[in-house]
Each structure stands twice: as structure tokens, then as C-alpha cells.
Amino acid sequence: MKLNQYQNKTLSEDYVDIYYQQPTEKITAIIEFIERVVDEKVRVRLTDTYGYILLSSIYYIESVDRKYMANLAKESHQLQTDVTLKELAERFQEVGFVRVSKSLIVNVAKVEKVAMDLNMRMLAYLTNGEVVQINRSYKKGFNHALVAFAKEGIGK
């Protein structure tokens, strides 16, 4: 397979074209990889197979029994990854994820509001109606992340 690369500084947007005779396994894998990189997708375990979901569709990622569950609006899938939650939080920080407790990172884009309860805890209300707790030692990091996202935007 021939691979051509061209640099053109006058382009307003980068693009990738793929030419093929037949959509072979190799071609499909390349397309999937590029889609994953471009659209920020993550690999998850589905019922009897594997698939990819958009990072932006995840509300929060929770560590349960050493497995990472990506919680979407209504369903959740097990993430296929070997990294720790700390590394996941660092990796996904630029797309809006922030760690809010020892076992949970939340997508700020899905946080509707925060409030405190009678027990003096800070809670994050998500747009799907779920509520997650922001633990004391992660509150400062959460506050700083919001300031940064408000200033620079998510994904910048």
C-alpha cells in the first residue's frame, strides 16, 4: 500500500483522503483508527463484541471492581483500557473530563449545575438527571478545571 503525505500551509483545515479498490480489513482498520482519533472515540465492550463510543457522549467514567464503566445518558459500557483512572483523567482532561472522587471522573460538558446538600457536600447534577458527588479533596481541582474551561473552552 502506498502512503503519500503532503504539507500545504495554505490549507484552512487538515484532511485525509483514502483511496482503495475494495474496503479490505486493513482499510477498515485504518478508517476506524482515523475516526477514533478525529472524533475522540474510546473502545468499549458491547454485549457480544467490541465497539467505539464518542468521548463526548460519556457523562462520567466510574471505576467499579477495577473495571472502568463509561456511563452514557441511559446505558453504560465497560471501557477497554489498561491505564489507571488518574491517567484516564489526565488523558481526557482536554476534552472536558475532571476527576471528582477516588473512583469517578465526570464530563463537565454534561454537568448542568452544582449544589450543596444538607450534609455540606458539593454535588454535580448531570443533564441526564443523575447526581454525582464531588469529594472534598477533588473540589479544588474541579473548581480550577471549571475556571480553565470557562476561559479557554473545552477541547482547546
Binding site: 463537565v108 450543596m116 450534609n119 455540606m120 457536600r121 479533596s137 474551561f149 470557562a150
Partner: protein, 137 residues
């Protein structure tokens, strides 16, 4: 700000070391200490107890701060009463001693709780303003 905090810590530690050293040296030289110096030692013991109790909150991250605060207050009050009771064997305790120590322990906890509530309230308001800004982009 960090340098200022570092400076405050150094001043606090130096002051504690100097104050305690003076009490110990006078105890060695004169064979006894005056009432104010005994108070100073008691304050040091109570400060150590309170700071130790407050530091325990890091182990109860998932428990409500209000419940942790109440438990810390109960533990602190119990220890203070125990120290006052123990000191009654070596010195006479004033009739209001237990009540005064109870109130003296309670006041900083109440102030701490009010400050915590105020900071949290401020953070919530600020975060909601930032979230509106983020979603409005």
C-alpha cells in the same frame, strides 16, 4: 501566596519551639513553672489533639462533612474532658473548669463549620456561573 504560607508555617513552628523550650528550661532551672506556663503547655497539648482529630477527615472522604465534623467534635470534647479529669489529680480544677473547656472547644469548631459552609456556598455560586459560561460557548 505559597511563600507567604511557608513563612507563616515557619514562624508558627519557631514560636512553638521557642515557647516550649523556655518552659522546659525554666522547669529545669527553677524546679517549677508558673500558672501561665502550665496553661501554655495545656494549649499545646489541645492544639496537637485538635489538629490530629481534624487531620483524620482525609480518611473519611465519602462520609458527609457534617457527620465527620460532629464526630470530630464529640471526640475532641471527650478527649478534652479526659485531659481536664486527669489534670484534676495533680492540680485543683476550678468549679467552672469543665464547662469553660467545653465551650472553648466548641467555639473553634462552630467557627470552622461556618467558614466551611461559607466557602462551599461561594464555590457553588461561582461554579454555576462558570458552568453557564462554559455551556454558553
Amino acid at each position: 501566596m505559597n511563600k507567604l504560607r511557608e513563612l507563616a508555617v515557619v514562624v508558627a513552628v519557631a514560636y512553638t519551639i521557642v515557647s516550649l523550650s523556655v518552659v522546659v528550661l525554666e522547669r529545669i532551672q527553677k524546679g517549677g513553672i508558673v500558672h501561665e506556663q502550665r496553661n501554655l503547655l495545656m494549649q499545646f497539648v489541645f492544639s496537637g489533639l485538635f489538629v490530629g482529630i481534624l487531620y483524620l477527615q482525609h480518611f473519611f472522604e465519602s462520609v458527609s462533612p457534617l457527620i465527620v465534623g460532629v464526630i470530630q467534635l464529640v471526640v475532641a470534647e471527650s478527649l478534652v474532658m479526659l485531659v481536664v479529669y486527669a489534670s484534676s489529680f495533680v492540680a485543683e480544677v476550678h468549679p467552672d473548669g469543665y464547662r469553660d473547656m467545653f465551650v472553648s472547644t466548641l467555639v473553634p469548631f462552630v467557627i470552622g463549620a461556618l467558614v466551611y459552609y461559607g466557602v462551599l456556598y461561594h464555590d457553588v455560586r461561582k461554579n454555576n456561573r462558570l458552568l453557564k459560561q462554559i455551556h454558553g460557548r
